[in-house]
Symmetry: C2
DNA sequence: CCTCTATATCGTTGATCTACGATTTACGAT
DNA sequence: ATCGTAAATCGTAGATCAACGATATAGAGG
């Protein structure tokens, strides 16, 4: 292929950046925590090791169904895990995925 | 066991968590970078010191107006800065705000 | 079985995002 | 003054989010 007459490359990339899987993973994780309620939930779980869903609901000024939605989003991102404990559900941080997020941000 | 009629505190917080300014700042910054295109823009600027808007557009598979929108979002978050350079605009990272993001995530 | 509690899911509403083409604005050069 | 280029903004359409109340589900206990 002929070189472009006007070299409009960025860095050493000759063409447009394709969908970068790392960028997408980064964006997915960043988005999961990109809401004040979810930041608070994550912080709460980091500080408590584990927490029953009802306690989380009591800590936030949101309806139970809304909190449940946020928990679902965090769970889908892998940042937290939920474990059924009788009629309740106990949530905790997933240290591995949290570390992944920290690593991605630290290496920016 | 009597129902904990009023003691529904999490941790040592006696009542519902109010809107936490730090959580909101965190969410705002995380949200700014919570899109693959914005991740790529930030990475590009970190690796290049500075970059003219047109080069960024050429690096992404998006229309110029869309890239301009993403740049605006990043600029509003403080993560990047734009400086007019003749008819062009030169963007660069704002190291202070990037450090703020890193610090918030690292201290999770 | 029935009931109570805890949680998830459904359905809806309004707000916000994302993308684009078209237009406008700003600046340098002719 | 006019033109051309670079960038921002406008206007719009479709998708997704965030919040809620209502409802469904699952397990514990009477």
């Amino acid at each position: 292929m002929a070189k472009k007459s006007n070299n409009k490359s960025c860095d050493s990339t000759p063409v447009k950046l394709k969908a970068d899987p790392t960028a997408e993973e980064f964006a997915r994780l960043a988005w999961a925590i990109a809401h004040p309620a979810r930041v608070q939930i994550v912080r709460l779980l980091i500080g408590r090791e584990a927490c029953v869903c009802g306690e989380i609901v009591d800590c936030l000024p949101l309806a139970q169904s809304t909190v449940s939605q946020h928990l679902k989003i965090l769970k889908e991102s892998g940042l937290i895990q939920g474990e059924v404990d009788g009629p309740k559900v106990c949530y905790c941080i997933n240290p591995k995925q949290l570390q992944r997020l920290k690593s991605l941000v630290a290496n920016l």
